[in-house]
Amino acid sequence: MFNNIVKMRIMFKNSILIAVIVLFTVNLNAQNCAEFINGQSLSYGYELNSMSKSGAVRTGKKYKFVFTLNSGKVYRFSFYASSSLNNDMEFILTDQNSGTQILFLPGEQPEIPVESVEGEYNEYGEWVEKPKQTQSNLPQYTAIPGIAFKAVLKADYYNNVMTYPFFEFKPANAMNLEVTVDIKELPDGLIKKGCLGIMVQDRDEVAEFQSL
């Protein structure tokens, strides 16, 4: 009887300990979506604009943002999303004044494997090819020549860099820019949550830099 009580007390203590550790680790793993873009570095010559916004989103939903942009500035909009959202989302930028769609970024496209002949001999003298490189199809977008943007949403693990879509432009006149983000449903219908961030940077029109 006494032994059982001691055992129960030990189990209770261990349970508490496990609960504390699990809560601790979950808290560490938790992502504060409001700070999702805080770690991103600014592009050369640009300053962070306080209109930047990030937060938690879920698959199968649309989100709309309206930004007031002034003439005389060059803006750079960068889009960030958690990989849990499956990289399958559309970004549509529309000039609210005229209702004209400026840019359509459909997110990640099917990958096309590119044959690689690179490789090396292993310790047994066998030829081992390096992992095959892949590249994304360039998506269809509203054709404005010379737009500086990247439309790849997925991390480029092979080159160890993260690439995100961005769009640099200069408003002809003051405008309200509507950004609609359509996060597609997952093929299996499951709802996944993740972080979405729109980082707005700006610089004065007079200082022209080469696009990065």
Partner: protein, 298 residues
């Protein structure tokens, strides 16, 4: 046996911690569904209206004839007079704009005074956590040069906005933004010595119609809050003036600039403001601003 269990649990916890740190460092955001439950979530059909900060408006004041006019500012001593939540939050925005104005004209001592007021009001509206050790250290270094001063004031505003969003204080953010916008327009309309149809500053004041519309839409999202509803009513006369502005055609359309590296986008129209409209707008803005601050400068 018990000791082994404990060691295992501790090792598991530590390994999870390191995994988490490593993940953050690499900025890879693979996530489990449960990770997001505690955090801010965008609403079902909500639209997010983003309003430019006061410093962005002041950055357009490139006309060298515009002189710094300290009498336009809301005196820091007034901060003690604001008792209720609405007055404190609106005037927090007013002082944030005053800080941006003093910084944009490289007024170091004035900026320090207004940072002090902003910090004091931040405590009153329970956002003092914005001014953490890092931010306070940056503020201490503002005497280094003008760029640092402007960068610090911009960073302060960004941190305030970010903090309010993170803590789901959207009503406070709306009132702060409204206060900041009215003070910015009050200062800029009074800086302009006289109306000039071709002045870039006049054009920027006219362009603020777009910001004003977004501001009103963002306020209306919280119109069940009496403080915000009163503010909407106060701002309506400004809207009536902006509604009078005509839209005129320009020749610009989507194309590249001369350097070929930045695309120009936007409509072929712009807003035009007459001298009468400018004077009326200036008057209405001063009236609203006086109601908020309780002070008439000019």
């Amino acid at each position: 046996m018990k000791n082994y269990s404990l060691i295992f649990i501790l090792l598991f916890g530590l390994s999870m911690s390191f995994w988490s740190c490593d993940k953050t460092k690499n900025n890879q955001t693979s996530a489990d569904n449960n990770e997001f439950e505690e955090f801010e979530e965008f609403g079902e059909e909500e639209t997010f209206y983003r309003i430019p900060s006061p410093d962005e408006m002041f950055s357009f004041l490139t006309d060298k004839n515009l002189k710094f006019q300290p009498e336009l500012l809301n005196p820091s001593a007034n901060a003690d007079k604001y008792i209720d939540r609405k007055a404190k939050e609106l005037n927090f925005g007013i002082y944030a704009a005053d800080l941006a104005y003093t910084a944009s004209f490289h007024q170091f001592q004035g900026s320090v005074d207004y940072i002090t007021v902003v910090k004091r009001l931040a405590e009153d509206i329970e956002i003092a956590a914005v001014f953490n050790e890092d931010m306070n250290n940056r503020i201490k270094n503002i005497f280094e040069n003008a760029d640092t001063l402007i960068n610090v004031t911009n960073a302060t505003y960004y941190q305030i906005v970010n903090y309010l969003q993170k803590n789901d204080r959207n009503q406070t953010l709306s009132l702060l933004t409204a206060g900041g916008w009215i003070e910015t327009l009050y200062i800029v309309t009074h800086l302009v010595p006289e109306y000039d149809e071709n002045s870039k500053t006049i054009q920027h004041i006219a362009d603020q119609k777009l910001t004003f519309e977004n501001l009103m839409l963002s306020l209306e999202q919280f119109n069940d809050d009496p403080a915000i509803n009163e503010t909407i009513n106060d701002f309506k006369e400004i809207g009536n003036v902006y509604a009078q502005l005509k839209v005129i055609n320009t020749e610009t359309s989507a194309k590249q600039n001369a350097e070929g590296n930045v695309v120009i986008v936007g409509s072929k129209t712009k807003l035009h403001m007459t001298k009468e409209q400018f004077n009326l707008l200036k008057q209405k803005i001063a009236q609203v601003r006086m109601k908020i601050t309780g002070k008439s400068n000019v």
